[in-house]
Symmetry: C2
Subunit: 222 residues, 2 copies
């Protein structure tokens, strides 16, 4: 499970303070399929980044599986991000100097999997997202939707038990998007992988078992 307990997040910029999240409490239990929806700038990406332990709240606590994230040491934090949580970024965050294959392989290299096993897993994943014929290309040589699929493949390659997806279908046509959603929904139904999507996509909202609304940094319904 992932829980935000009375979490606030502020960004201070010169004289202004942006209240990205205001006293947000939200619990996602293991195996849930949740869509987080709300207007542009309402706090979705910020909420996901805190839940993925990629940033700290200004106040309140983040808990992952009954562990307070702020109590974890660096090694435990790294293991959490590397093994338990897969994160799909809204702006992809791919590594330009690596190929498609290299980008998707990287989490497995960090886990010290042997080369043969990495090869098989990456090959299988690239086929699943329709990019097997692009394995050797650099990410700048891809279309927007192809880059998005590299980001998705990389997040899923470690078979995480929680997948936090920030607008994963924004750059995909509906058919490709449906294929990606089928793939992720199967993980939820067969392996009880927890899925949390920050999204504007009605197809994701329709498939989700629960929809949480956010507005101006506050949860409206949960």
């Amino acid at each position: 499970s992932i829980t935000l307990k009375s979490v606030s997040k502020e960004y201070r910029l010169g004289q202004t303070t942006v209240h990205a999240l205001r006293n947000v409490s939200l619990e996602i239990t293991q195996g849930e399929f949740v869509a987080l929806v709300g207007p542009s700038g309402s706090g979705k990406s910020t909420a996901l980044q805190l839940m993925g332990a990629l940033d700290h709240p200004s106040s309140g606590e983040v808990w992952v599986d009954d562990q307070a994230v702020n109590q974890l040491n660096d090694r435990e934090l790294a293991r959490l991000r590397r093994d338990r949580i897969g994160f799909i970024f809204q702006s992809f965050n791919l590594i330009p100097v690596l190929s498609v294959f290299g980008n998707v392989e990287l989490p497995l290299v960090l886990k010290k999997l042997p080369k043969q096993e990495r090869q098989e897993k990456v090959q299988a994943m690239l086929e699943r997202v329709g990019l097997a014929d692009r394995a050797q290309h650099k990410t700048e040589e891809l279309s927007g939707g192809q880059r998005q699929r590299v980001a998705i493949a990389r997040a899923l390659i470690t078979t995480p038990s929680i997948v936090l997806s920030d607008e994963p279908t924004a750059n995909l046509d509906s058919k490709t998007g449906e294929e990606i959603l089928d793939l992720m929904q199967r993980l939820n139904q067969q392996d009880r992988v927890t899925l949390l999507f920050a999204t504007h996509d009605p197809n994701i909202v329709a498939r989700a078992k629960r929809v949480v609304s956010i507005l101006d940094g506050q949860i409206r319904d949960g």
Copy 2:
């Protein structure tokens, strides 16, 4: 008008050749509102970049208003991109060292508009896309949809007669997307601005007067 005449575009990468566009002919006449749709990787962004004179075809010709783009000298080409065409990039291409205001102002600086006039135009445009309170922020301090709106504002600030938009609503919730589309549709209806969208968004397709399909680099219907 913008016309592709038997245009092909190949990318050569080591041993592979990617045929991004294959013998594409497409004419968009002044004042049209066209949606270009097709699967991820089918050639939409490539087609738009050629029409915006941001890249050269491998073969065939691009014409803008009865002028062959490959016949223009550098000064004429710069004037075309600066004055006639507004381009909204799929990955925004904002300038990180400039503020929101600075990014939107830049095309007016290049046109040598006086400071007072730039100030008024940028302020009005930022209000129209809902970012007036973010004028002084750097673009890395914005949400994905806020950055997208900066890219939109920058493309429209020079009141171009042709707007080429690559997935302009991908990161926007439906309400914000509708507001942007209302704004652009008004330009088309009142000022006969030509609108060409590469898009997966059904809301844009519904509003467009003509829908062109592309698949594997070839136009299916025009």
